[in-house]
């Protein structure tokens, strides 16, 4: 029973979060920051594009690095 619950939770974790949990955490943090900045007079829309511009290359770099190290 415990194994089935674990497998169920594992499935949803893989489905929503995927290979890189840092991406999910960073997106949630960026949304929270957007919300906070939108309450001020500063424009909040650049936060998500800037997050993607940093997050995607960083995630790719980590994946490329780990792929390369597996071959050694």
């Amino acid at each position: 029973m415990g194994d089935r619950i674990k497998a169920f939770l594992r499935f949803w974790y893989d489905f929503i979060v995927g290979d890189d949990w840092r991406v999910a955490v960073a997106v949630v943090a960026a949304l929270a920051l957007t919300y906070a900045v939108s309450r001020t007079s500063f424009p909040a829309w650049p936060i998500l594009p800037a997050t993607v511009a940093i997050l995607l290359p960083a995630s790719l770099w980590r994946a490329a690095g780990s792929s390369k190290s597996k071959t050694r």
């Binding site: 991406v23 949630v28 900045v37």
Partner: protein, 256 residues
């Protein structure tokens, strides 16, 4: 822009997942028992339709701001996953999804399993293989149908796009009686990743209270900008890791 983007994103995402599900169903059908495999397909599709029918009205009842915040965030996480895999594959750092290889591996596995009859299902293995294949591949599509459709208040259009893709892939599968190895899956996943990421950013920021310059017209800049940025990343990875292209994917296996 929004309706056509909705149709294109859902159609492409569904077509890609349907191609992958078709490979599993063909292996179960040709390798074991067609009746049980098709029964599995029917049950898998029925569960997906139930999920969309049950959650669709519930999602459209949520206030738009909250919906866009939650759905935008989820779409952005999803889109970045799709885009990440597509960029890694395009740059040679991850193995391209090979339907023929997947089909041969599945076929070898189905021959090894024992035959077991349960109720009206003559071959339980074929049934569960097809059922799980359709349900798991379809779950992502159901999510995209629901999120895109609910945000645009047009779940029927999203459902039509998904259905069109399933029918097209099924017809191609029936005609060819083989896995659709020639379908440019990675290019399609790349486009879907760009769409999900762009719309995820747009809706997520709006849901969090941000206002885009030019309102909906901002998408006309966001979509090509994400596409160009992703292509630039492919070019950069190819230059930084040239050995991946000459010696094949390094340390990777064919994933979803």
């Amino acid at each position: 822009m929004s309706s056509s983007a909705l149709f294109i994103a859902v159609f492409l995402a569904c077509a890609v997942e349907a191609v992958e599900a078709l490979t599993i169903v063909l292996a179960a059908g040709f390798g074991r028992d067609w009746r049980s495999a098709l029964l599995g397909v029917g049950c898998g599709l029925a569960v997906l339709v139930l999920i969309v029918a049950a959650l669709g009205p519930a999602l459209t009842a949520i206030p738009l701001g909250v919906l866009r915040l939650v759905v935008g965030g989820l779409l952005l996480i999803f889109g970045l996953q799709w885009l990440r895999k597509a960029i890694l594959r395009a740059s040679g750092l991850k193995a391209i999804h090979d339907e023929t290889a997947v089909y041969n591996a599945e076929l070898a596995a189905v021959h090894a399993a024992p035959v077991e009859r349960r109720g009206v299902v003559t071959d339980w293995y074929s049934f569960t293989l097809s059922f799980k294949g359709v349900l798991l591949e379809g779950l992502e599509v159901a999510f995209i149908v629901l999120t895109f459709g609910a945000n645009q208040h047009n779940i029927p259009l999203a459902a039509i796009a998904a259905l069109s893709a399933v029918v097209l892939v099924a017809l191609a599968g029936v005609t060819l009686r083989a896995p659709l190895a020639a379908v440019p899956e990675n290019a399609m996943k790349f486009i879907v990743g760009v769409m999900l990421t762009s719309f995820g950013m747009f809706w997520g920021a709006e849901g969090a209270g941000a206002r885009w310059p030019g309102a909906d017209a901002a998408l006309l800049v966001l979509v090509p900008a994400v596409a160009l940025f992703s292509l630039a990343l492919v070019a950069a990875l190819r230059r930084i890791f040239p050995q991946a292209r000459t010696t094949g994917p390094i340390g990777t296996s064919a994933g979803p």
